[in-house]
């Protein structure tokens, strides 16, 4: 594939309004195959809506999204989304949750293997209700990855987890991303998380891309690295900076 001429994911002139409220405004963005893009922004900035459009769960009001050169219309097999609340089926055992939507026997075996990769093969026969928050999200991750998505969308998947579990999950997600070579778009409100995982951080403010910054630090990224701290501060300043400007003009 000629990556130079054709981007994997292309947003052109993308807009979305709910009634009178415009949530996304003329957004243009291209993402290459294999990138890990983190989308940050304050709550209500439209980042989750963007992700839902990418997943085909919402239709854009203007513009379009192209995946591999094709316009995205509705849900796409190449795309899987992992939700903030996991959305495991409480009435299915862990292994059956991972195997949801799989039909062939070999695929079901693969589900067990994927469970092993997220470190939960010993919980395969448990009900989701007995798992901890972090374990639930790992099951949700396995369920998404067993479909071999080319584009994995992560909607604040770690939002409800404690700090230590988050660090573990960061490492797991990063390892799986390197191994499976999918493209990822992560929506998060945690700038540190974005900088720890992403090859590019996009800041959305008021429905527009306010910052589009490539991050070139090698993995694994350590928080005590001065460049890490500087990048985080820089992005945070951008978020706050625009905010204070707005206040002044009011």
């Amino acid at each position: 594939m000629n990556q130079g001429s054709q981007a994997f994911l292309e947003l052109s002139d993308l807009g979305k309004s709910f009634g009178n409220k415009q949530v996304l405004k003329q957004m243009d963005l291209t993402v290459e195959k294999g990138e890990f893009v983190a989308v940050v922004g304050k709550s209500g900035c439209g980042k989750s809506t963007l992700l839902r459009i990418l997943a085909g769960l919402e239709k854009p009001t203007d513009g379009e999204v192209r995946l591999d050169g094709e316009t995205v219309k509705g849900q796409n097999k190449k795309v899987k989304i992992m939700f903030q609340d996991g959305r495991l089926l409480p009435w299915k055992k862990v292994k059956d949750n991972v195997a949801l939507g799989l039909k062939k026997e070999e695929e079901k075996k693969e589900a067990l293997q994927m469970l092993h990769q997220v470190g939960l093969s010993d919980r395969a026969d448990e009900w989701p209700a007995v798992l901890s928050g972090g374990q639930k999200q790992r099951v949700a991750l396995a369920r998404a990855l067993v479909h071999h998505p080319e584009l994995l969308l992560l909607d604040e998947p770690l939002g409800a987890l404690d700090a230590l579990t988050r660090l573990e999950m960061h490492e797991l997600i990063r390892n799986l991303w390197e191994e499976k070579e999918f493209t990822a778009v992560l929506v998060t409100h945690d700038v540190e998380e974005a900088v720890a995982l992403a090859t590019r951080v996009i800041l959305i403010d008021d429905g527009e891309i306010a910052l589009n910054q490539t991050i070139k630090m090698p993995f694994p990224r350590k928080k005590d690295n001065p460049i890490f701290a500087k990048t985080v501060t820089n992005i945070l300043n951008h978020i706050m900076g625009r905010n204070s400007e707005l206040k002044l003009t009011r």
Binding site: K80, W91, G101, W127
Partner: protein, 251 residues
Amino acid sequence: MRKSFVPWIVPMLLLVVWQSLSSTGLLSTRVLPNPVDIVKSAIELGKSGLLFENIWISFKRAALGFLVGGGIGFVLGLMNGLSRVSENLLDTTIQMVRNIPHLALIPIVILWFGIGEEAKLFLVALGTFFPIYLNTYHGIRTVDSSLIEMGRVYGLGKRSLFWNIVLPGALPSILVGIRFALGITWVTLIVAETIASNSGIGYMAMNAREFMQLDVVILSIILYAILGKLSDFAAKLAEKQCLKWHPNYQK
């Protein structure tokens, strides 16, 4: 072991008090026959085969009425829960009919069907229809829409969406409906059998009343209680089996 004994202490005590009041003559057997006499008459009726025949007849009526009424309620609940068209067409009518107390229909039911089996079947079916209809419908309507969205993302078609997400999600509510309907089944049957019948437990009680066989009357009442309790127990077991995944049913 000890724990399972505790709930039985009070009923046992009551039985002992009842028996001793009766044998000391403080409680006239014309008002309330004592437990020993009731057991005796149960054994007698059991020997003649009349007891089991009547129990079997009543059980059959309850089961058949429940299956017919509950079955129709379940199907309509599914239809109206899943399809807006069906809901628009049928729900208002069903809700209107629901407000008629089904036991109020007894006079007209007797006119239509006499005191035959159809009358009992009709009344029990009508009584069990509504709780199962309502709970099925409500259960399907309140299935977490985010789970359905998730199912779509993960490639489930309409059919597997129903079997994997909608039905299991509605099941807790449906089971509540079933338990409720079982209660109504017995109440309806008791009324129908006492008023218009020539067989069954209710008939046995009414027949005994004419001959002042108070022990048989009490026995019939106890039989109804036992049958009601047994069906509730069965429903509870089914609940436990079907809702193993539910945190409330674990352990």
